[in-house]
């Protein structure tokens, strides 16, 4: 199978269909990433489109030091964050917000106690730890790719992920709502480990 770098060479030589191959290959994971940040499918689609356009425009600046995938992730994350910032600045019609939230809760958010507890605890994590955790678990990225996106050394990316998981384990095992999900023997083991 042709690597991204090989396909990029064809793009740089003027083969626009090669860029289309890259779009097809990466658009799904970028859409997930954008959807997670902006929380709205239409806005996420716009973010992905804008990100590919930016990537295409700036292709010459991509030196291949990082993987193309993590470069795209960086662009998409920045674009999605800007979009979110823009949305927050807009004046908001309260009724529309209610509709959007209701639709989302029906189709996407299915909360159990465990999910709710995890969401709350993940939200409490420091930014870098939360980012490492979600990029690894939700986006299935390697630590090398996470390091490229977070612009940090490989070991730091891995340490952020470890700390996030350990903190979550602590919080979940301490949760009274989830008593029983994590057996107490596990909890004792954790306390010894910590």
């Amino acid at each position: 199978m042709e690597t991204d770098l090989n396909v990029l060479e064809r793009v740089k030589n003027g083969d626009l269909n090669a860029f289309s191959e890259l779009v097809l290959k990466h658009q799904k994971s970028l859409l997930r990433l954008a959807l997670r940040v902006v929380g709205d499918l239409t806005a996420a689609e716009d973010v992905v489109q804008e990100s590919f356009i930016k990537a295409y425009q700036k292709l010459e600046s991509f030196e291949g030091r990082s993987s193309f995938k993590s470069w795209l992730f960086q662009i998409t994350l920045n674009t999605a964050r800007n979009k979110l910032r823009g949305k927050r600045l807009e004046s908001v019609d309260i009724e529309n917000v209610h509709v959007a939230v209701d639709a989302m809760s029906e189709t996407i958010m299915i909360h159990t106690d465990l999910e709710r507890a995890i969401n709350i605890e993940v939200a409490k994590l420091p930014n870098k730890q939360r980012m490492a955790l979600t990029l690894r678990i939700f986006d299935d990225l390697s630590f090398a790719e996470i390091a490229e996106i977070m612009k940090c050394p490989y070991d730091t990316a891995k340490a952020n992920y470890r700390h996030a998981l350990i903190k979550l384990r602590h919080s979940i095992s301490d949760s009274t709502v989830l008593n029983g999900w994590m057996p107490k023997t596990h909890k004792r083991t954790l306390e010894v480990d910590a």
Partner: protein, 113 residues
């Protein structure tokens, strides 16, 4: 007994072959280590299941939807130009020409200019 960090690395496929072999051996004999690993696995899976985009799995798995999105993106990409990409100036010309050839109205338009 191994540290929690070691089991996280193990779960993520990290560590040398030697370390992993040693841990595999440990798992055969140590119930407490088995429990720690099992617990981490369950936690990881639970976190995975909280991904809000899972609700959109059906749509994201729809080939037609993804192809439509790809085509929309490429339509916009074709309108843009790369920065510092001399090769593509020529190609952009070819793109216009090939589109025009399929569209007589546009060919006429080109003649006029």
């Amino acid at each position: 007994m191994k540290k929690l960090e070691d089991w996280i690395d193990y779960l993520e496929g990290e560590g040398s072959l030697r370390e992993r072999t040693e841990m595999n051996l440990l798992l055969k004999h140590s119930i407490s280590d088995q429990m720690v690993l099992d617990n981490l696995r369950r936690l990881r899976q639970a976190v995975y299941e909280t991904d809000s985009t899972r609700g959109a799995d059906l749509l994201l798995g729809d080939k037609q939807y993804m192809e439509k999105m790809q085509s929309q993106i490429m339509k916009e990409v074709r309108k843009t130009k790369q920065t510092h990409a001399p090769n593509l100036t020529v190609i952009a010309g070819e793109e216009t020409l090939s589109t025009s050839e399929q569209d007589p109205a546009r060919v006429r338009g080109l003649y006029r200019t």
